[in-house]
Amino acid sequence: MANQVDTNLLRTPLYPLIQDLKARFTSFGGWDMPVQFSGITTEHMAVRNAAGIFDISHMGKFILQGKNLVEELQKLVPSDLQRLQLGQAQYTVLLNQQAGIIDDIIFYYQGETETGEQRGLVIVNAATTDKDKAWFLEHLDTSNLNFQDISREKVLIAIQGPEALNYLQPFVAEELASIKAFGHLETTILAQPAFIARTGYTGEDGFEVMVDAECGIQLWQKLVDAGVTPCGLGARDTLRLEAAMALYGQDIDDTTTPLEAGLGWLVHLDSKGDFIGKSLLEQQKALGLSRRLVGLQMSGRNIARHGYPILSEGKVVGEVSSGTLSPTLGYPVALGYVPANLANIGQELAVEIRGKSYPAVVVKRPFYRSPSRLGKG
């Protein structure tokens, strides 16, 4: 409950507008970010039932361009990026040699220029921006491709929820409904160049918009004036957790592999050539996993939180990586790692909360699936 002001924290171009909305701020990944405006539960339900708006300008943004961009990037991720058509994107991970996750990222493929160079946009986590940049510059052949860090120049706004399309449509000439889930396009908003993707981190339909700072300030104000609920990192966390989306630094990190984290759907071993971490993933596939990330539903209202021990028959077998009271479902849910033989749906476990043991059961992920959500993501 400290109120210290850390003057080293970075601020996004939207900071003054967000301050005017009386948001409560917190330090996150080196940034001074809003944790809540009207209240986490109110904001959470606004995104589930109508539309919410998030300033995500703190996230890292890289533009890449080069003749063999996709082929080069292929070496750093377990996903087959060659399959991507113009306007498609892939959620994937950067891996180290032990197949540990350096970061989870989205690669948006933007097609070829007139001179045959491939273009793409990579969005990464805020706290890992510098680490990722160094990794890219170390492992990509930069003599043949251009790497541009635009993290600090651009505003990134997420408009999420079943009504997101209706609120954003008046600012865009194209039919937003024609963008598929995980699709994207380059267009204009308020007469300025804009990148719009049908992606997000809430489990709802919605859009992520990247524009210049001045345009972003105007768009934020217009959407808030139109009735979109301003949302902070608190609601972002409860929303993504209900949707069982991993949070980097908690659910996944340099020591967890995508197979252990339940991200096997982005590992395309068969269709891919070599990539960093491949041999370890092949080994895990052949020998089986020693641990897995599971979804836990708690009985009662005690909340399992990050770092709490997971028990089986009184013995510690794992640890909670994320947990909250699900505002939509009304009961506590959590993610955590347990031995693979205890990871089956229906497995009864317990979580130790302040010295006492409380029952938990392994359930299917996501905990909540929105009716408004398009396709698989």
């Binding site: 608190g234 209202r301 005690n302 909340i303 909250t324 505002p327 302040r354």
Partner: protein
């Protein structure tokens, strides 16, 4: 931001308040704590008959974003707890010094509460 801190209460720097009437202490959390916590979703409180000790943790209050220990300003025995708040913890913030109280404790030594802060000491600490 400015909140109300009634003059007849005493306060801990961990944001609990205590109201002493005779040898009965009523314990709750302050308006400042309610504001800092955000949406309160869960309360863990001792049973009637349990002992509490001054300075020790007697329970916890959990919001969507965090969990905080509750610390006792007095030593004594729990004679009543506010089950309405345990069932609907989100109501604590509506009237923290009235309907939103948490525990009533029969104290061993009424003078103990003099160690806690006065309203003006507490408000100058939290409001700066």
């Amino acid at each position: 931001m400015s909140f109300e801190y009634p003059e007849d209460l005493r306060y801990l720097d961990t944001h609990e308040y205590v109201r002493l009437e005779g040898e009965i202490a009523t314990i709750g959390i302050t308006a400042f704590a309610v504001d800092q916590l955000g949406d309160i979703v869960f309360l863990e409180l001792p049973e009637v008959g349990d002992a509490v000790n001054k300075g020790d943790t007697f329970g916890s209050v959990e919001s969507v974003k965090a969990v905080e220990d509750l610390n006792s300003p007095v030593t004594g025995t729990v004679i009543e707890r506010n089950d309405g708040m345990v069932e609907s913890p989100e109501l604590v913030g509506e009237d923290p010094y009235g309907e939103g109280w948490l525990l009533k404790v029969r104290v061993n030594d009424p003078d103990e509460i003099n160690d806690a802060m006065t309203a003006s000491e507490y408000s100058s600490q939290v409001e700066g």
